[in-house]
Symmetry: C2
Subunit: 316 residues, 2 copies
């Protein structure tokens, strides 16, 4: 009997639960709103019901290898605690592993969501053919995951791959983390909007960007991407800035770890066409290792399913 | 019978050959000038004679575990070639492993010198008590070595830990590697002298630094260190700049790898007292992981013997 695993992505907005077989075939998937405003017990109750439902539905065709769960935030791997999560306020120090485990009556594997997504891309996505993988997720913030020798690299206290908080411009914009000039302040969706606001405030914005700002109550990175692809000069410049910041950071990762594969995921990576050229140019300039032996820097092929693949992979 | 290994550090200036036992006791050590101007065959001949002499001298008291050699430059680990070495011009693509191996009639372990020094510090030096180690060597340039899970991390083509070429100031000074703003351009002995020259050229140097420059045909980093420790304002500022550049880089390494131990070696690390405060301040500002859980950032305890310890360790 072939094995399958249940992979869960517990996000601040959606709960995804999937059944994936050992060969990486997605056999079942559901997605429901998280409704985190109803409180963590309610979320865990509903999530656990969905896990049980999916697990039972496939129990006659496959044997269950295990259940893996990816969650946003810092995890104490030893205790199974969610130490801190900006996306799940009020869940600090919540013993999420024990809570789900009790309800589904089975051990579960817990992992940070970006680490899980990295593992998913390594297993079944753009990172499939590489030895190692550096995964960057570009969304509201910038997160990351490192796969070294086929395994997630956690570091001393499980906080490795905080790639969004690597300094790219020492005198740059303040970041929520207290530092200034972090990659996240430039290459996230929020960073894109900040770049636009800076141009508007300085009176240096193009007519197109000014028009967009006047039409919207709040600028968003997807609209600026569309403007960039239509040739609006300010929007082109903004996304070149995203590419440069990414390029400085990725060149650093290559110089430090000499890795072969880099995958960019998250919604903001959809603007690939607007930032990729500037990114490659910067990596080539700032890493003679890359210039000597170019690496694969790719867009995620699993998109927002990377997390459930990775969570399932944890269980195999 | 206890085992021992021969550890070799083949530097551009000196050849060091040592006998070290399994417990890390240095039982024998010789150091002779490299005289690289005599050509690579001559250097390899003399080096091999010294290896044989040291090996034979201890062969009655110990059993020989093996011979390890650290060399500056990029190594093709598979073939045992020295691909490129700025310190050993004319040695490009030289099959150094086979050449030594033939002469000493024994297999040898070849490693990049900074990687070997990192391993030495992990085995018997400041990195002894850590899980992982990030080693930085501050000399004419800045090199590095990473020990992950107890092993040297080589990366895809053996070029990992080019830590001196991580960008710290994107718009900074040009570096020999073709990039600008590399750590090496600020935190090496050469970088210190460049900082002094920039202050002098801009007419912003203190009286003390001007006097030193007038006395010497060529400024050197050790003299600037002495001035800094005596309170000379320009020299203090220069070494604070070294500390800031190191701090930006090390904060990045922590954010990427969440490592627990960092060791700074090389001659320029002797100026520790002049740069350490600025370095710690910068790391604390730029890594909230460090701010949450401070890491050990230490001066090398093995100094210029780290390389022979690491080379011997390769053989055990």
């Amino acid at each position: 009997m072939e094995r399958f695993a249940v992979g869960v992505d517990l996000g601040g907005t959606n709960l995804r639960v999937a059944a994936i077989d050992e060969k990486g075939k997605l056999v079942d998937q559901i997605s429901i709103p998280t409704h985190k405003e109803k409180g963590r017990d309610d979320v865990i109750d509903r999530l656990s019901s969905e896990i049980l439902r999916v697990a039972q539905r496939w129990a006659s065709s496959y044997s269950l290898a295990g259940i893996g769960v990816g969650i946003p935030g810092i995890i104490n791997m030893k205790e199974g605690l969610l130490v801190m999560s900006p996306n799940l306020p009020g869940w600090e120090n919540f013993n999420i592993r024990a809570q789900i485990s009790q309800r589904v009556n089975s051990p579960i594997f817990l992992e940070n969501d970006a680490n899980a997504a990295a593992l998913g891309e390594k297993w079944m996505g753009s990172g499939k053919d590489g030895n190692d993988l550096c995964f960057l997720t570009l969304g509201t913030g910038v997160g990351g995951g490192l796969i070294l020798n086929g395994k997630i690299w956690h570091g001393k206290i499980g906080m490795a791959a905080e790639l969004g908080h690597v300094t790219v411009y020492p005198e740059g914009r303040p970041c929520n983390c207290g530092n200034c000039g972090c990659l996240e302040a430039y290459a996230s969706a929020t960073g894109v909007v900040r770049s636009a606001e800076e141009l508007l405030d300085a009176g240096k914005a193009s007519e197109g960007l000014k028009r967009e700002a006047a039409l919207q109550s709040q600028l968003n990175s997807a609209a600026i991407y569309r403007l960039a692809m239509a040739g609006d000069p300010s929007s082109v410049e903004i996304y070149q800035g995203v590419g440069r910041a990414l390029g400085i950071a990725i060149a650093g990762f290559i110089n430090i770890l000499d890795m072969d594969t880099f995958v960019l995921g998250g919604n903001a990576a959809d603007a690939w066409d607007a930032f990729a050229n500037a990114m490659f140019e910067e990596v080539n300039k700032r890493s003679y290792i890359y210039a000597r032996d170019p690496r694969r820097i790719l867009k995620s092929s699993l998109g927002n399913q990377a997390g459930i693949y990775g969570a399932a992979c944890l269980a195999f």
